[in-house]
Symmetry: C2
Subunit: 346 residues, 2 copies
Amino acid sequence: MGGDHAPAAVVEGATLFAREHPQHQVILVGEERRIREALRGEPGGAISLRHASQAVAMGEHAGAAIRKKKDSSIRVCFELIRSGEASAMVSAGNSGAVMAGALLVLGRISGIDRPAFATLFPALKGEGRCLLLDAGANVDCKATHLAQFALMGEAYVRKLLGVQNPRVAILSNGEEATKGTLLTRNAVELLQRSDLRFIGYVEGKDIFSGDVEVVVTDGFTGNIVLKTSEGTAMAVAGLIRSAVQRAGLSEKLGALLLKPTLAGLQKVVDYAEYGGAPVLGVNGVGIVAHGRSQAKAVKNALKAALQTTQAHFQDELVARVRAAQSWLPARPAKRIKEPSEEAHSD
Amino acid sequence: MGGDHAPAAVVEGATLFAREHPQHQVILVGEERRIREALRGEPGGAISLRHASQAVAMGEHAGAAIRKKKDSSIRVCFELIRSGEASAMVSAGNSGAVMAGALLVLGRISGIDRPAFATLFPALKGEGRCLLLDAGANVDCKATHLAQFALMGEAYVRKLLGVQNPRVAILSNGEEATKGTLLTRNAVELLQRSDLRFIGYVEGKDIFSGDVEVVVTDGFTGNIVLKTSEGTAMAVAGLIRSAVQRAGLSEKLGALLLKPTLAGLQKVVDYAEYGGAPVLGVNGVGIVAHGRSQAKAVKNALKAALQTTQAHFQDELVARVRAAQSWLPARPAKRIKEPSEEAHSD
């Protein structure tokens, strides 16, 4: 039920995925009547339907909505994971509600205080990808949270992108150790004691440099990085368009000839293409697709969910967090949501 | 003496400026021998030379360097402004040292606790420009500082870009009032009481939207926005290049035909072209050009310095800050640098 083009784009994306992966089952969760309309008929084959009478809207307070709306599509998805009926969930809806649902229904992994959203950025050299987290779940962070993000991000990049020995850094306003805030300086101290390949501070431009594979920051800054990058890429695309419109005939011909190249570029810049932002640190696989997601982005998010499950990423993460307890302190994990968790889930 | 290509690029930029504006004087401040080398002869016409025996290096602690190196080129520039020999200064060097020099030699404007760096971004619609501040001077900010940034940014955009009634916003991780940090929420309260055209929160992508002309944030976040945007634009340019290299003959022809358009684009994206980042809130005009600045960027920074002086921006700013005392509290201004100021100048 989530996203600008729901349920049509979600249903279409699921149909594309099911066609490519007929050996896996997709459960469409939401208002039965509207899903049937989007399906133009009965579900069948690899696609089934699970009615959910409620939905969390984009503007709603995420934590309150998830607790109150017990039959909301997001919450039902997590209940399906909890009961073992589903292995993973994908939503293009309210990302705060996805985080709140994951925390309430699945709970945190033992050793992780603050689950985070992770987002992949394109890099020009190196492994060609950089994972940034937290991309927006936790506005107020402590140094231990940043260290936990580093641990989770490293595991994800190693296991799912196949990077052997990922470099991990903290986002700051300069590379020198004297830069940063109290938060980043405390996180540096923690990560220097870790067994990660920690390279210190990096700046905003380094995310795209190929010199680092995992960049950690608080969720406030992470969200701003994500949106600034999106805005810049859209501005560049728009400037190309308007420059071509103002330009002469030869430039217009040039743009026509370059169209396939520029379309390919759009794909690299559009992070929705990467398969959405995974929730890292909860007991299950949840992925948030961009609210603007069309069918293809939904399909890619489903593929990412499948790969995460098939790679047994959750087992790897749990083992990795347990092995890190020597240098990384954490509160004991609880299934039931605490007031302190609520603050960062909306 | 500052910047990756100093003194050659600085001297060349000054020469270009002097040729276009022969009625104004440029004083080149730095090591006499090296400047003469770069000039390939004697200074003359609109260009004169002022020897400074020291320079602040990029990695140096800005505050300490400015206090210790009394004959550093940056400090001498500010002394020339203080003595009335110069109307404005431009540096492509250590930006922290420029801020420290401005604070130490010129002092803060009464009513401004924290001078800030302001940076212009391109916007697709509207006025075509958006001013972001603080772009990196003040890592730890209070709500009053953000409100003062708003006041200074509004004055700059109105006076120097000619925008009649600029819209002012606070950068946040979402548009809803429940978003943001304690800092941003307190700043919202202050700005709602102001006489500015305050539109609340905006997200990172909105900087480029044309829907806002002044965006305020703390210097940590501002620096990251600046570098992320730079990194994204460079990544997009790099992706176009490598896509064209991999593409077929017709795409290569297309790229060739589009070359003038893409070159024009580079100019819009490269914020150095805008004439550097002004220091707002000190008793004089100081402008930091990008460290990568070539001659043209130095020339543009000199033009911006000239325009700022000719527009009597400082008088306007002082009047504007005085008029805002009813809603905007500030510490009394001091000429001598205080320990609390030191923390944000390196």
